[in-house]
Every structure is written in structure tokens, then in C-alpha cells.
């Protein structure tokens, strides 16, 4: 959990978005994206931009990999990610995202994400995601091993 919090702090764009780690276990992670005026996609409705939700889900997926791999440290660039926006999150409400790495193969990880409005984590998701990431092992100096 502490490792995840610290790693999030180093990712500048995620810090700019105001992402927070709510929990981090081997089975999965939970992240939070606040609703903020400057992250709005449609100024007529005040709904968060899909891109901000995308960044939340992508980061949550990467962190789910780290948790599954822990204590080994690898970097896991995204191969692909698909997001379905099931309905628009209510303006003013934060979005919570759970991500789980459900398969770890030798070179690739497979991750699912689900996002809800804060306070409605048992209800209808606002978005679901499905992603693959590639595993890049690091050597002792922290460089990508060939």
C-alpha cells in the first residue's frame, strides 16, 4: 500500500489529476479520481471527461500489475486498453476504480477494471475496462533487462 502511494506520487500526470490510492492488495487495487472543474469534458453538463476516467483506469491497471508482481518490481507498459462508458458519472461526484490482474503470463498481464461513482460502489458501474500490459523485468540497477 505504501509502495503504491509513493509510486503514484512520482507519476506527475496522475498527481495533476488528483488520483489517490484507496487500497492495494495482491488481488487488486482501488483508486479515486476527484470531480474537479478543470477535468470537465462537457461544459454544458459538468460531466467529467472520458480521458480523465481513462487515465484513472489505465493507472489502476498498471498498479494492479505491480501488486500482483510484488515484491518483484517490473514496469508494465500498456499494450491495449478498451473502455466502455456505461453511463455518465454525476457531476460533482468522484469516481472510484477497482482493477484486478486476473492472469499473469510470462510476458503479458491481463487486467479488468470497473469504475463507480463514489458512494455507489455496489450499484451500476459507470465504466468497465479491459487491458493487456507487457512485462519488462528490471535488473539490479533498475534498468530494463534485455
Amino acid at each position: 500500500m505504501d509502495v503504491c502511494k509513493r509510486s503514484l506520487e512520482t507519476v506527475r500526470h496522475s498527481r495533476m489529476l488528483g488520483l489517490q490510492v484507496l487500497s492495494a492488495e495482491e488481488e487488486g487495487v482501488r483508486l479515486r479520481l476527484p470531480w474537479r472543474e478543470d477535468l470537465v469534458g462537457n461544459p454544458d453538463t459538468g460531466v467529467l471527461h472520458g480521458g480523465a476516467v481513462f487515465a484513472l483506469m489505465d493507472h489502476a491497471g498498471g498498479m494492479a500489475n505491480s501488486c500482483r508482481l510484488y515484491p518483484a518490481v517490473e514496469i508494465t507498459p500498456t499494450i491495449d486498453l478498451r473502455i466502455d462508458h456505461l453511463h455518465a458519472p454525476t457531476p460533482g461526484k468522484a469516481v472510484i476504480c477497482d482493477a484486478t490482474c486476473y492472469r499473469l503470463s510470462a510476458h503479458v498481464t491481463f487486467v479488468r477494471m470497473t469504475a463507480w461513482e463514489e458512494g455507489d460502489e455496489q450499484g451500476e458501474p459507470v465504466a468497465t475496462g479491459q487491458a493487456t500490459y507487457t512485462r519488462m523485468k528490471l535488473d539490479r540497477s533498475g534498468r530494463v533487462a534485455s
Binding site: 506527475r12 500526470h13 489529476l17 471527461h49 481513462f54 486498453l81 478498451r82 462508458h85
Partner: protein
Amino acid sequence: MSDTLKALVQACRAGEADYQDLIDRVPYARFLGIQVRAQGEELTFILPRNENNLGNPTLPALHGGAVAGFMEQAAIIFILLQMGEPRVPKTIDFTIDYLRAGLYQDTFAECRVTRLGRRIANVHISAWQRNREEPITIARAHFLLSDENA
């Protein structure tokens, strides 16, 4: 849908307003720092090099989410300019393939509408840095255009 948006889209089409005004209406687009360049009828979207969009601090590389958000917004503006009755399209789904790391450089994007239906648009978006033939990411997205049943 606000009349101001419709008026702005029409002014952009007529060459009486700057496409940039359309982007600057969107808070998140300003957050990323998106710009647009028009060459005749062709639009190229630009995500200028900005440290706030960095993900991996050591490489350094752009955050995949920032690039995705940039491409999604580019597609939204692109469709808006093609719609008879402009309304902000709602993203149904967005699928991205990362082909190369996004370096700490300016990033460019162009869109191609594969099909613009009455209710749904299918758009292909490609983003590159050094040259157009070597995209760093490609994406495919569907947008809901009509408010009915939304």
C-alpha cells in the same frame, strides 16, 4: 445543448472563428493544453510537450492516459465540426493500442471518421511524434450523437 456551441461550430466552419476557441471551451482540453492547427480543411491536433502530462518520470515518457484523453478530445472536436446539428458527442467506448513510448516531445493527432451515422459515429484516431508514418498510438472509438435514449 447550448446555442452558443452551435453558433461557435458554425462560425468555425465559416472561417469566422478560430478552431482553438472550440477546444478552449472544454476545461479538460485546457488542462492537457491541447491545440489545433488547420491547413485548409485538414485538422491536426497538437499536445505540446508539457511536464504535467508525464507518466514515467525516469524515461521520461508521456502518461498513456494523457495521450488517450488528447486523442478522445481530438475525435470529439472533429465529429462536432461534421455534425449537421452539433451536440457534444458522448463517448460510448474507446480502444487504444500503444505502439511506441510517447517521448517527452510534442504529440500530433489526426482523425478519420469511418462512419457518421444518425446516432453513432465510428472514428479512427492516430497519434505520432516524429513522423506520421510511425504512430505512437492508434485508437478506435464510438460516440453517441443523439440524445434520444441516452
